[in-house]
């Protein structure tokens, strides 16, 4: 099942050239760019593992693309996303986040309905590994 979260997730996966263009935009806004990965794409899993530090002071997207290639090699079966943060307010505000790598076969997310007291239904989601 194709997971959709962050920007561009209803579009076909971005090519490397397209990712580089997006990074280019982020750098032009003075945002720092970082990579994060996870094997648990549950919508409530907000904090993914960081792939190294966020990259500050880059001039060119190539630096990010090198890291992305390394991250893909190390975690071919994880989700990898690119996050861009803005420090204008004195702390890093997330400005952009999109998935740049998906596992070959994606897990599915199942919705579980649980009937509790009265006719109340609790809805929860569960990631079912592929």
């Amino acid at each position: 099942m194709r997971i959709t979260q962050g920007c561009f997730s209803y579009l076909p996966d971005l090519t490397d050239a397209q990712i580089a263009r997006q990074v280019d935009y982020c750098l032009a806004q003075d945002w720092s760019v970082g990579l994060e990965f996870t094997d648990d794409p549950h919508p409530r899993n907000t904090y993914w593992e960081m792939w190294g530090h966020p990259m500050f002071d880059l001039a060119d997207p190539k630096g990010v693309m090198i890291e992305l290639a390394d991250a893909r090699k190390a975690h071919p079966n994880s989700y990898i996303r690119l996050v861009a943060s803005d420090s204008t307010r004195g702390f890093e505000t997330l400005r952009m986040s999109f998935i740049v790598h998906r596992p070959q076969i994606e897990p599915t997310i199942k919705m579980i309905r649980q009937e509790v007291r009265g006719r109340t239904v609790n809805v929860s989601f569960e990631v079912v590994p592929a």
Partner: protein, 308 residues
Amino acid sequence: MTQAAPAPEWTHDAGAQTFDLRAEYESSGVGEVVAGLEHDLIGLAPVKQRIRDIATLLVVERARGALGLSAEPPTLHMSFTGNPGTGKTTVAMRMAEILHKLGYVRRGHMVAVTRDDLVGQYIGHTAPKTKEVLKKAMGGVLFIDEAYYLYRPENERDYGQEAIEILLQVMENNRDDIVVILAGYAGRMDTFFASNPGFRSRIAHHIDFPDYCDAELGEIADKLLAEQNYRFDDEARIVMARYVTARRQQPHFANARSIRNALDRARLRQAARLFGDANGIVTAEDLSTIRAADLAGSRVLTGNGEIA
């Protein structure tokens, strides 16, 4: 032979038949940078000649690319050798600008580093550090000052070797992303290249920076002062010439840098003199003139104490 093909004056299309080198030279702005180099930097004739040669080579290379003749991007890594204060960093910045204008680097920024920025303190520290610097320099020029410190043969467990290996790999694989310029004293760079043949073969241009002669250093002093709205009076200029000759004989002479430091100290003495003078009323003329006394106070000329 009367084909009515509309001959384009010059274009960058793959199908173009002709390429106007002069127009390219001017329109890319390289001509301007090279002219600026001629104008702004005093002396350094052989260096300027080499930069001009490289600039024209790059324009020709662009033409070849436009007409579909060259496949490989040219190797642009350079080594700048010369004594301290001979303008290596300044020229490297101009070089970054030239390369950017011709589209050989995407950004044209320059990242200047030394051994400390590349080599770590403990095992596993060097590779991330070097990569961090390389990422920052991507799309521009990486200037490694005193590059020979990277290699320390006396310590076989030195982490410098690790940084060298990463550098070599990037210099080879990312030739269209980054240009590396190594700089340092000529003699020590030769030893460095001798023990790291990988570097020598990956560097296309070796440029040697000659020392400045006394007259050139005098001109540099004038220029440095003019940039800060100061000037010598006639007597001071004569003392400055004496200073240059005397300073050269002393240890740690660093060409233009020594001159800059001497001028900074002369400004200190000028300030003290202006303050010490009778009534404390000064004119713009007073404030911007360096007199002979301001220079003559230097330990280089009085001959006592240590020099900085």
